[in-house]
């Protein structure tokens, strides 16, 4: 449960030196994708930061986001962040289950009314679809969400499913899945999309709230600009190859071995806004493009329906070849019909022609 101890006090109580605290601040700045010049401000803010209560709701999801999050839950530094938040409900991680778990959620809501943060992963069946498609403890996802966010200070949609509907919403969307922002309209929302999001990004957003007591600056899709402000393409270390026109043509050619640009192999980097190119995965070990595979665009809405993963971004998503063939045939039919009508008109006009004589000319 949230308490009134500040983070600074909490750290000191744990015997962390000031040097350690500065190091922690440096790590926090890096995690929040803030420049090192922000470290003193972070230190100042962290001193005074209080532990917020967090309620984590999981709906139509695969737990990948939680898996990702736990990868960031390394001991000590990031751990301290999580020591500093009060994760009061997370039905995957918590020990409690059944009525006890739901009671914990309700208790957290009551105690921190208006102050707690709701983190959601997974989409929900929309209000118009069958609520039975996804329930927890007999409560439909929609009802639980709406009930929980009532007293929330902010909602963080973690993962593309929660942020934009995700795979459940992929055509033909059998469960009528919708994103959290489609149904929650009256609360500040942060979308942290990705399939899954980079763990540091999840913790970074929470850290930002923890440090500054407010939500980070967002883009038009409500994603934190610090992480989603630049496209994969613009931050990609292979960008110089794109500019030079050096492309891998398949996954086993010279270009692929030399690490050339993967645009032609379907990399969606140019339209994808995420921090993979800089933060990377596995604590900075590598990321998809570095491992030789194009970006799938997983942090963008509807990425699953955005054409083939291995087709270049500029390729239309529909079967244009078939359309083109049909159009040519239709054009030929229309053209021949119009042409024959024209021909008939022309010969009709020619038949109407009366021989011009000079006598007529004279009268003309």
């Amino acid at each position: 449960m949230a308490d009134s101890t500040t983070l600074g006090e909490s750290l000191r109580r744990n015997g962390v030196s000031r040097r350690g605290f500065l190091k922690f601040c440096a790590a926090t700045a890096s995690m929040m994708a803030l420049p090192p010049s922000m470290i003193p401000r972070i230190a100042e803010a962290l001193e005074k930061a209080r532990r917020p209560s967090v309620i984590w709701l999981s709906f139509q999801e695969c737990t990948g986001c939680t898996e990702s999050l736990t990868r960031s839950h390394a001991p000590t530094v990031e751990g301290l962040i999580f020591d500093s938040i009060s994760l009061d409900y997370h039905h995957t991680l918590q020990v409690a289950s059944g009525e006890q778990a739901e009671a914990a959620r309700e208790a957290a809501m009551h105690e921190n009314m208006g102050k707690y943060i709701v983190v959601v992963d997974g989409s929900i069946p929309g209000p118009g679809s069958n609520p039975g498609y996804s329930t927890i403890a007999g409560i439909s996802n929609y009802d639980m969400l709406m009930d929980t966010v009532k007293g929330a200070a902010a909602v963080v949609s973690v993962g593309t499913c929660a942020a934009f509907g995700g795979l459940p919403k992929a055509r033909p969307n059998p469960s009528g899945a919708v994103a959290i922002q489609d149904v929650v309209k009256d609360k500040p929302i942060v979308n942290v999309p990705g399939c899954p999001p980079i763990p540091q990004v999840i913790t970074g957003v929470l850290a930002h709230y923890l440090v500054f007591g407010k939500l980070p600056e967002l883009d038009s899709l409500k994603r934190p600009l610090a992480f989603y402000g630049q496209s994969i393409h613009d931050r990609c270390y292979r960008r110089p190859f794109y500019d030079k026109g050096l492309f891998a043509e398949n996954f086993n050619d010279e270009g692929a071995r030399k690490g050339w640009c993967l645009y032609r192999l379907g990399c969606k980097g140019p339209m994808t806004y995420n921090a993979c190119a800089t933060l990377k995965w596995g604590l900075g070990w590598s990321w998809p493009v570095e491992s030789g595979h194009g970006c799938l665009g997983c942090s963008e809405p509807d990425f699953w329906d955005a054409g083939g993963f291995y087709q270049a971004l500029s390729i239309p998503t529909s079967n244009v070849t078939r359309t083109a063939a049909a159009a040519v045939a239709a054009g030929a039919v229309i053209g021949v019909a119009a042409g024959l009508a024209n021909k008939a008109k022309k010969s009709g006009a020619a038949k109407k022609h009366q021989t011009v004589t000079v006598d007529q000319l004279g009268k003309g």
């Binding site: 026109g245 645009y263 032609r264 339209m271 963008e300 359309t323 054009g331 024959l340 021909k343």
Partner: protein, 216 residues
């Protein structure tokens, strides 16, 4: 993103369909008007000369180079630039490859970028010339300015998208594709159709000269 998916999907389909239906229908409409069979004794080849004229016409007669300098230079720069930006930019090559299954190497992007700017400058010069030069101004109507706009917009939006001057990228990319779709839809029913009928016209012209034994 929804917008980008729409312009890359259904809207592109519709635009391609209208474009192809229009072009094919227009070509039939033209060709079916036919030519009268000729009885005069030919003095030279019709077909070969017509084909040769398709290429030869690309070289302007020295007579008008000076008088038509702006139109000729501007026209050349703009058409060559258009060709390069359309057919030698890698994303475009991929698009063509996905539809027709043929691909070729592209030019480095900074080169295409530079060409794009030059192309736009040439187009603006041509527009100003159209507004100022008495003959062109007299000949020009709504269609001439409409076709200028629908030709210019894809170049401009493509350039903006490439440089990411508008955010988010999917929006400007979508606008770029949408303007191309607009161009595709407008093309068959305006003077832009010359992209196709030019070959017919040059051939007919060259054929007549060829048949009469005139070297051109």
């Amino acid at each position: 993103m929804d917008f980008l998916l729409w312009v890359r999907g259904p809207a592109f389909d519709v635009a391609v369909a209208i474009f192809l239906i229009g072009v094919v229908a227009r070509l039939f409409e033209i060709l079916l008007l036919g030519r009268k069979p000729l009885h005069s004794e030919p003095k030279g080849g019709e077909f070969g000369n017509g084909m040769a004229e398709i290429f030869k016409r690309s070289v302007p007669l020295p007579d008008i180079v000076k008088r038509g300098a702006v139109t000729l230079v501007g026209g050349y720069v703009f058409h060559i630039g258009l060709f390069i930006t359309i057919f030698l930019f890698v994303p475009h090559i991929e698009l063509i490859n996905s539809i027709f299954g043929v691909r070729w190497p592209g030019l480095p992007n900074p080169v295409v970028d530079g060409v794009t700017v030059v192309t736009m400058v040439a187009m603006v010069v041509l527009l100003v010339h159209r507004l100022l030069q008495p003959v062109k101004r007299m000949l020009s109507g709504f269609e001439d300015y409409l076709t200028w706009v629908v030709t210019f917009l894809p170049i401009l939006t493509g350039w903006i998208a490439y440089h990411r001057l508008v955010n988010p990228y999917p929006l400007i990319l979508g606008i770029h594709i949408l303007t191309v779709e607009l161009l595709l839809i407008v093309l068959p029913f305006t003077k832009l159709m010359h992209a196709f009928t030019l070959f017919l016209s040059r051939w007919y012209n060259g054929a007549v000269y060829g048949r009469r034994g005139v070297q051109s």
